[in-house]
């Protein structure tokens, strides 16, 4: 029972926060709505016994990423409505229509039964292929998973981080490159 109540409250906060991100005119408020949404998602993870994921959600998303957002907003000085180029009405309509279409598609995937009838419907039966993991020690599970089954993606992520670093450095450093050639006359 308590699970249902906690789920209901956090789900409302998740959705409310998400709507706040989209609807609030003030970028800082939008970023803070995002924090609310992220923290409520962390609560949902806790209900699912995924404690480590909840921790990462709070530290990385609720903490680091939103702080970065706020930094960018402040550095660019776009913390007022009039600083923003708000989308055209037609863009808003197109966004809403495509958003609803996508929502409909996902709902169809979840709730419309496939060729196998209701029994094959994951959302209705709650059964997926693999057995649920014993969640009492999800950190150990995670460690084991990273160093066994998911070793290759873990290693490949190292390449991703390398290009992110090199790419960021070269794009910033580049701006004062070789002044012997003519510079672009911007504006």
């Amino acid at each position: 029972m308590i699970d249902v109540v906690v789920f209901g409250v956090s789900a409302i906060i998740v959705l409310g926060g998400a709507l706040g991100v989209v609807l609030s005119k003030n970028p800082v408020r939008a970023a803070l709505s995002l924090v609310a949404s992220f923290l409520a998602v962390a609560v949902l993870f806790v209900i699912q016994q995924a404690h480590f994921l909840a921790l990462v959600q709070v530290v990385v998303y609720g903490g680091a990423i939103v702080v970065l957002f706020l930094f960018v907003i402040m550095l660019l000085g776009v913390d007022k409505v009039e600083d923003l180029d708000l989308p055209e009405r037609s863009q808003v309509v197109a966004g809403i229509v495509s958003g609803l279409a996508f929502f409909g598609l996902i709902c169809a995937g979840l709730f419309v039964s496939g060729p196998g009838g209701d029994e094959g419907n994951v959302a209705l039966t709650g059964q997926i292929g693999r057995n649920p993991i014993d969640s009492t020690d999800d950190i150990n599970q995670l460690a084991a998973d990273i160093f066994t089954r998911n070793l290759v993606p873990f290693m490949a992520t190292a390449l991703l981080l390398t290009i992110a670093t090199i790419g960021a450095v070269v794009m910033v450093k580049n701006s004062e490159a070789d002044s012997s050639l003519p510079e672009a006359e911007v504006n």
């Binding site: 995937g109 997926i128 693999r130 460690a143 084991a144 290009i163 090199i166 701006s175 510079e183």
Partner: protein, 521 residues
């Protein structure tokens, strides 16, 4: 309550055995750039003249050579996360050889455009991106595939934008980055839904995910799976640039530095197409009834958009971009044909890759002439938005009209270009003829006659596209003198190699068809 505890028995960890030998082509491509960036930061004298280019081309060719030694291997690696078979090896070979050719094209492009300071970074990003492509081709796990695609694409976003003084390149990089990020999101959503339906991200387990604890087969019984497949299809279609997900292609191909355009049109596209085929065949083979109609629609739209819209273009880089969309149509036909099409897919990918590298390479070399008199500088000023900038890379603005008299100004390059264009058009005695023939025969063998008909029609229309360029070079000649060209010898070697392969394999295609036989798993 969170409990931290040490693992009672560390031996319980079954760490996968790393098959160093079989992975070595991939490891060379991934570690060579790391070595390069380390060495060049410690030893500054490493950064001189063509040394980084030779290093990159050498490492890529070494990777290709090691790939060739593995030829008869066919097994799973790293606990089934990667696989090495003929399909993988052909893909690795195309990517590795492609990177070597691109590095040679980049050779004095970087210097001429004034980015010598960054020459190491261009090469490093190129090689790491290619390593991502090699992961994509070999992936047997959707998570590995996703990380591979991201390595491949994110490095490419940076490469497109590395020409920092060229606003059109910045615009292209940003467009590619935003659209690419959205398509990656759609793709990841598809993976999540497929995982939700089957409980696994391994291609083999998805295909035979068998029955869950309720005795149901989620693969056959779930609509969640269909939505997941559709989303992944959309993500792949964007990455290969298939219509109607192609709208980024002309803009990005035009704006990107020309050697990088060649890289995107060859290695990146081939890696994505082979990953696409692998997932569709190995994981979703049972669903072919559901996804084949979608792939055939993508193929027809790509064939039509590539050839017809291409005819309306004036800019050469945009014409070649539409031609690459047209080629994707043929590649999709081969994917549509399932097992019957695997050989056609590999043959087309291989022949297409070096033809397109050569084409963009020649386009770039035609603009690499000795500095001309100051009076013509005004012609190089172009208007982009409100900004008047010096067009540093004139290949971006090159139109059909600019080619008039090219046969006199660049007799050698125009001749090579004509051969490559004939190959793209599918003229007999070039490799492009055999590639198109195989794709159409694959469609016929699965009784997709309508698809084969569209392919023939599009090939004819696209032939006009290529012939217009040849006509512009040879028939609209003015009385121009041979230009004093100033391109790198290495670039010329790469382009000539592409042309020799095109003609050689066109007359005697057996080596390449032997290479791709029995590639179906």
């Amino acid at each position: 309550m969170i409990t931290f505890q040490t693992v009672a028995n560390p031996d319980a960890f079954e760490v996968p055995i790393v098959e160093w030998g079989a992975l070595s082509p991939l490891l060379i491509m991934a570690l060579a750039p790391i070595l390069l960036v380390t060495v060049s930061s410690v030893v500054p004298s490493f950064k001189k003249a063509s040394l980084p280019t030779v290093y990159t081309a050498g490492a890529a060719l070494l990777s290709a050579a090691v790939t060739a030694t593995l030829w008869s291997d066919n097994r799973l690696l790293m606990d089934g996360a990667l696989t090495i078979d003929r399909f993988t090896l052909v893909g690795w070979l195309i990517i590795a050889v492609g990177v070597a050719a691109i590095a040679m094209l980049l050779d004095n492009y970087i210097v001429k455009q004034g980015y010598f300071e960054q020459i190491i970074e261009w090469n490093v990003l190129l090689m790491i991106s290619a390593a991502g492509g090699m992961i994509v081709v070999a992936a047997q796990d959707l998570i590995v595939l996703f990380v591979g695609i991201e390595v491949l694409s994110i490095a490419t976003y940076v490469l497109v934008g590395l020409h920092l003084r060229k606003p059109i390149a910045q615009e292209a990089a940003f467009k590619y980055f935003i659209l690419g990020a959205v398509s990656s999101g759609v793709f990841a959503y598809g993976i999540a839904l497929v995982y939700g339906a089957t409980g696994s991200t391994y291609l083999s387990e998805i295909a035979t995910s068998g029955r869950n604890s309720l005795g149901l087969n989620p693969v056959v019984d779930s609509s969640l799976m269909l939505v997941g497949i559709a989303l992944m299809l959309g993500g792949f279609a964007f990455k290969v640039g298939a219509a109607p997900f192609h709208s980024w292609t002309p803009d990005v191909y035009q704006g990107a530095p020309t050697p990088i355009t060649a890289y995107m049109a060859s290695a990146v596209k081939v890696a994505a197409a082979l990953g696409f085929a692998r997932v569709m065949h190995d994981a979703f083979g049972e669903f072919s009834v559901d996804w084949q109609p979608l792939v055939s629609v993508l193929a027809v739209l790509s064939l039509v958009a590539g050839s017809f819209i291409g005819l309306a273009q004036k800019n050469l880089k945009r014409i070649l971009a539409y031609s690459s969309i047209n080629h994707v149509g043929f590649i999709l036909i081969a994917i549509y044909a399932l097992d019957e099409g695997v050989e056609a897919l590999l043959f087309y990918s291989a022949s297409y890759a070096f033809t397109v590298i050569g084409s963009f390479g020649i386009l770039m070399m035609m603009t690499q002439t000795e500095p001309v008199l100051a009076e013509s500088d005004d012609e190089k000023m172009v208007m982009i938005g409100a900004n008047k900038i010096r067009n540093l890379e004139s290949a971006d603005g090159m139109t059909l009209d600019d080619l008039a008299g090219a046969s006199k100004r660049h007799p050698l390059l125009a001749g090579l270009f004509a051969v490559l264009l004939f190959s793209q058009a599918g003229v007999p005695f070039t490799v492009g003829f055999w590639a198109k023939l195989q794709a159409i025969l694959a469609a016929v063998s699965v009784e997709a006659y309508l698809l084969a008909g569209f392919a023939i029609l599009a090939a004819v229309v696209a032939a006009v596209l290529y012939l217009r360029i040849v006509v512009a070079m040879y028939l609209k000649s003015d009385d121009s003198e041979p230009a004093r060209t100033n391109y790198s010898k290495l670039s010329l070697i790469a382009v000539v190699a592409c042309v020799l392969l095109t003609v050689g394999l066109g007359i005697y295609p057996e080596p390449l068809s032997d290479l791709v036989t029995n590639a179906g798993s």
